[in-house]
Symmetry: C2
Subunit: 158 residues, 2 copies
């Protein structure tokens, strides 16, 4: 991987999942799957719009304790079953967001036993945003998302 | 074109050039051509790095009255001879810039007489950035760039 992380502004972790990356990719890119793992329960995803191409929309709506949160975004890079990059820095048509928060990079690779090596990276504009994200619970939150994803994806196989 | 412009935050204009869009595209995407038109004379482009793919670098260095200006950026969308989108909001590897200024969209189309309809759009994060860009001389500056491009591209044909 030629991607150079910057500890001052990036957050990342790698986990091994006991599901093939074909399924991990499907969970991340097909709207009907997203509500099953995308935010930690008991928060809910109430709508998902996906146009899976560079510049295409990735818009979600959350219900967080009764409050509606709209999260418009776009895909920056789409390499099937390998790499997905998306951000809140743009909405469709390359319209810049006033205050972009982060850019997410997911990297998937095979493990020898048929599972998936799953790397999640959040890149930020400055150290303050990184710190805010860490304090919002990046590791717990994104970790929970992966656990939910793995459990849900196993159910798809069955 | 499905692109919806926002007059509060976008700047744009369309010009007709007497050169085919194949050449306009070549001027914009091959490093050796860039210094011949990319900023208004007498300012100079002193280096150009291009990796013409989504997420690839578009880095330029200017000499403005003896001051060196570094302009790192990336391509967001590359549709040969039709559409080029680039921004200073990222450098290579999708590293977010601390203070992104603008996202540029170039749209090229054929005119009936073999020329090019050339649309340049600059999208900004907020009305203040748009205003700053207009006051910096967007229309004169980008207009001069197109005039320089047209004159230079005619020379390539000969």
């Amino acid at each position: 991987m030629t991607l150079e992380l910057d500890p001052a502004t990036d957050l990342s972790f790698t986990r091994t999942l006991a599901v093939p990356r074909r399924l991990v990719w499907e969970c991340w890119t097909v709207p009907k799957h997203i509500p099953h793992f995308f935010i930690p329960a008991p928060h809910k995803v109430t709508s998902v719009e996906i146009d899976l191409r560079v510049g295409g929309r990735f818009n979600t709506t959350f219900d967080v304790e009764g409050n509606t949160m709209e999260n418009p975004g776009v895909y920056l890079e789409v390499v099937p079953e390998e790499k997905l990059v998306f951000t809140d820095a743009y909405s469709e048509g390359w319209k810049p967001a006033a205050e972009p928060f982060m850019t997410a990079i997911l990297l998937l690779a095979d493990t020898p036993d048929g599972g998936t090596s799953y790397t999640a990276i959040a890149r930020h504009r400055n150290p303050e945003s990184r710190k805010t994200h860490e304090e919002m619970g990046f590791f717990d939150g994104w970790g929970t998302v992966v656990t939910q994803l793995e459990a849900y994806a196993k159910g798809i196989v069955a």
